[in-house]
């Protein structure tokens, strides 16, 4: 990563940033801190274009709303995966047509959106009005009739638990002429109509209050309830019809979808370009920015800057300075950057661990999944996915990594003799009468698990030692040689020593002379290592810190845990193999004949699909975990910021140069 500072003329600003966005390899820094220093504040001010940015943001959300509406009502089949479409510059211009026209089209459609939303609100209001009138359908007087010359006409509700008989009786006691009709009841309320003499109003109201009576609100409705309901129905029909028409409009607009998507992307690019100003400093005639540039893009960047008459400086960052991180690896390794991405970018002080662990990831994934059939499916599906969909970014890397891991799965399946578990054996036994077994190239871990356990732990030990080695490299690179000795090399001595001491006798069986020497070497290595761990700290530490070495020595126990953690390579490998066999065996129990064969196929397909998904997931998680916890734990911290260059961050189309298509 190189640091880039540029001064240019205001009149070149637009065209320069247009080109830098196309170039896509320059990250701009925030400049607000500079303005806090006096020297900068005196000569330059903050550039900025917040108004335009917010206008464009508002516009973007309108375009998005239009696109959402089209998607909602468009009946055409949608692609399985949303990927950016690759188009040439010329095709893009063709699709977009004139931006002005596209804008007015979006304006027209957005107005339709609003009308549709209004209709939706109206529909809700009508429906709630209908719901409130429903209980009153039995009431056939006009709603506006509230009184006659001598009588009040009232509608209202009392709670469902209220005793309607008691109410009737109490009312008839004060006024014989009153009429109380119960129009209906539901779980919550009883709906009443009440006619009473004006003269009795006071006493009747008192009685009603004690029963929790509440007057019904009909707002300004006139006519009978059924008339009103009919009217509302008609209104609802009308609103629905309007919505249908609008929806039809959107369906027709689906033909314009691509154009609107292009327009959306145009607006995004315009917005991002307007946003650039926030990161610039300006004087009357000139602008200034600084930022980052990947080393290998230097020459191209120079060309662009020269063409726009800019003054610029490209420098190597100071030692220890934090820079944004861009992972750059060979194409075989690139997919495994997924694993690093998902953890954390390396800080600029660290090295990118991807090339080192990618081989182990490949290895571990295969060991834990270990089946020829599953490997073929995984690779097949992933390679097909890469071919059919133009995936980008993390999704692309992940799918490609899984495709590679499928190859590893196949290889380990071959070594362990597993093809959909033991499907060939079961099928040949059940349906052809004589069992065929595929013999493993290496050995069958189900019958000799201890061998694989030892192998797993050895591989794990190597993995961990490499991790520790990287730590030594980083320490030595930074000139801390003594730290490297204390943290790494004496540990190597101790651990190798212990391993030789314990297992040296079984490395070369039947040769006591050699094993004796090995054990002896192991003993001395372990002693040197332990002495180094305790002694170096005692010499280098201060005060009570001198004794820390003893505590560090105790850390050797964590190595036992770390190495045993790799036993999951065996356990998960067994899990996927044995469960595959379980399903085969279940299918095989059906017996012989055609029907049994059909049953077998059904059980095998469902069972293996299930086993495939659950174990692919488990394998992915545990292969990652071995990197994150065991391997990274030895040297890696991460915490770098990913490189985020100025570029055309479009959503729907990706404009590519002519020659690429």
């Amino acid at each position: 990563m190189n640091r880039l500072s540029v001064i240019g003329l205001q009149e070149e600003k637009d065209s320069l940033f247009e080109e830098l966005m196309e170039f896509g390899a320059v990250e701009l820094n925030d400049q607000s801190e500079k303005l806090l220093t006096k020297e900068w504040a005196q000569i330059a001010g903050r550039d900025g274009n917040e108004d335009e940015v917010s206008i464009l943001d508002g516009h973007l959300s309108q375009v998005q709303a239009v696109l959402d509406m089209i998607d909602r009502f468009d009946t055409a089949k949608r692609p399985l995966l949303a990927v950016r479409k690759e188009v040439s510059r010329q095709k893009y211009e063709e699709l977009l047509g004139s931006a002005k026209e596209a804008e007015s089209e979006v304006g027209r459609l957005y107005a339709l959106c609003e009308r549709w939303n209004d209709a939706q609100t109206e529909q809700n209001m009508i429906q709630s009005a209908q719901a409130s009138l429903m209980p009153w359908t039995a009431y056939d007087l006009p709603l506006e009739l509230r009184e006659t010359r001598n009588v009040y006409v009232r509608c209202g509700v009392i709670p469902a638990v209220a005793d309607e008989e008691a109410l009737r009786q109490q009312i008839s006691e004060v006024s014989k002429e009153s009429v109380l009709t119960v129009l209906g009841r539901d779980q919550e309320q009883q709906y009443l109509n009440l006619l009473y003499m004006k003269a009795d109003a006071g006493s009747i109201m008192d009685i009603l209050k004690t029963f929790g009576y509440a007057e019904a609100q009909f707002k300004d409705m006139t006519g009978t309830v059924s008339e009103n309901l009919k009217k509302l129905d008609e209104q609802l029909e009308d609103v629905k019809k309007r919505q249908k028409e609008l929806e039809e409009d959107f369906r027709r607009a689906a033909a314009e979808k691509e154009r609107i998507q292009c327009y959306y992307d145009t607006v995004i690019v315009r917005r991002d370009k307007a946003k650039v100003s926030e990161r610039l400093l300006k004087t009357k005639q000139a602008f200034y920015f600084d930022g980052w540039l990947p080393q290998n893009c230097k020459e191209q960047a120079k060309k662009i800057l020269d063409a726009h008459d800019c003054w610029y400086e490209i420098t190597v960052p100071d030692k220890g300075e934090e820079t944004p991180i861009l992972l750059q690896n060979a194409s075989l390794v690139t997919p495994f950057e997924t694993v690093t991405d998902l953890y954390s970018m390396p800080s600029s002080q660290e090295i990118d661990p991807t090339p080192i662990f990618s081989f182990f990831y490949f290895l571990f994934f295969g060991m834990m999944f270990a089946d020829m059939g599953y490997g073929i499916i995984l690779s097949g599906v992933c390679f097909a996915g890469l071919k059919l969909f133009k995936l980008e970014g993390l999704a692309y890397k992940l799918v490609k990594m899984l495709a590679f891991c499928g190859i590893s799965t196949f290889i380990w399946g071959l070594l362990f003799g597993s093809f959909f578990g033991n499907i060939i054996t079961v099928v040949s036994e059940s349906f052809f009468g004589h069992g065929i077994t595929i013999s493993p190239l290496w050995f069958d871990p189900i019958s000799d698990p201890m061998k694989l356990l030892v192998f797993s732990c050895i591989i794990g030990g190597i993995h961990l030692f490499i991790g520790l080695g990287i730590k030594a490299y980083l320490l030595i690179r930074d000139g801390q040689v003594l730290d490297a000795v204390e943290d790494v090399f004496v540990w190597y001595a101790l651990l190798i020593g212990i391993v030789l001491l314990l297992f040296g006798g079984s490395i070369v069986p039947g040769r006591p002379d050699i094993t004796g020497v090995l054990t002896e070497i192991g003993k001395w290595l372990a002693i040197i290592g332990a002495a180094g761990i305790v002694g170096l700290r005692a010499v280098r530490g201060k005060g009570i810190g001198r004794a820390v070495g003893l505590w560090n020595l105790y850390g050797a126990t964590s190595w036992l845990g770390d190495v045993l953690s790799y036993s999951r390579l065996l356990a998960l490998g067994l899990a996927s193999a044995v469960i595959a066999q379980v399903f085969n065996a279940l299918g095989g129990m059906l017996g012989h004949g055609i029907i049994a064969a059909i049953g077998f196929v059904i059980i095998a397909v469902i069972g293996h699909a299930f086993n495939f998904f659950i174990n692919a997931l488990g394998t992915f998680v545990h292969a990652s975990r071995l990197q994150y916890v065991e391997f990274f734990g030895k040297f890696y911290e991460g915490g770098g910021t990913p490189f985020d260059p100025l570029k055309k961050n479009t959503k729907y189309v990706k404009i590519v140069k002519e020659e690429k298509l």
Partner: protein, 156 residues
């Protein structure tokens, strides 16, 4: 049927009990996931991945139960005449994966439920949620391994 055979079948039953833990664990995670989906349906795939994690203990249990049943000839074979010592031995084989499975799956369910909450707020951190879940899973894997090694060491 001999006592030994019955004991071995009990062992298989204990192993399969790991499914209790998985059921509870997956349930806990599912509750959390449904809450997140209510806010943002696009996260269905991510939450499903996390929800599936506590399901593995049940599978390990199934695996061990199946192995034991096959060894004693209860599945597609003639039942072996076990001594009660052999039966007790096979019963012991079922215990690690069954017992560890139950509690580790419940704990893992809680962990991934928290992970689901994590991706609700920070969609980019799925991997970290998964790793926290995998930390719990380790012990179920170790239990499966021990069960398997015990099982593998006996010849009938």
């Amino acid at each position: 049927m001999s006592l030994g055979l019955a004991l071995a079948v009990i062992g298989a039953a204990i192993a399969a009990l790991a499914g209790v833990g998985s059921g509870i664990g997956v349930g806990i995670a599912g509750e959390a996931a449904a809450g997140v989906i209510a806010e943002d349906p696009k996260k269905f795939g991510q939450t499903l991945v996390l929800q599936a994690l506590p399901g593995t203990q049940g599978i390990y249990g199934l695996l061990m139960a199946f192995l034991i049943l096959t060894k004693i000839g209860m599945l597609g074979g003639t039942p072996v005449d076990l001594t009660w010592t052999q039966g007790l031995y096979l019963l012991a084989c079922g215990i690690p994966v069954g017992v560890v499975g139950i509690w580790s799956a419940i704990a893992q369910g809680k962990t991934v439920a928290a992970g689901i909450m994590l991706i609700a707020k920070r969609p980019g951190e799925l991997a970290k949620g998964m790793i926290y879940g995998a930390m719990v899973e380790t012990y179920a894997v170790l239990a499966l391994l021990i069960s398997f090694l015990m099982y593998n060491a006996i010849q009938l």
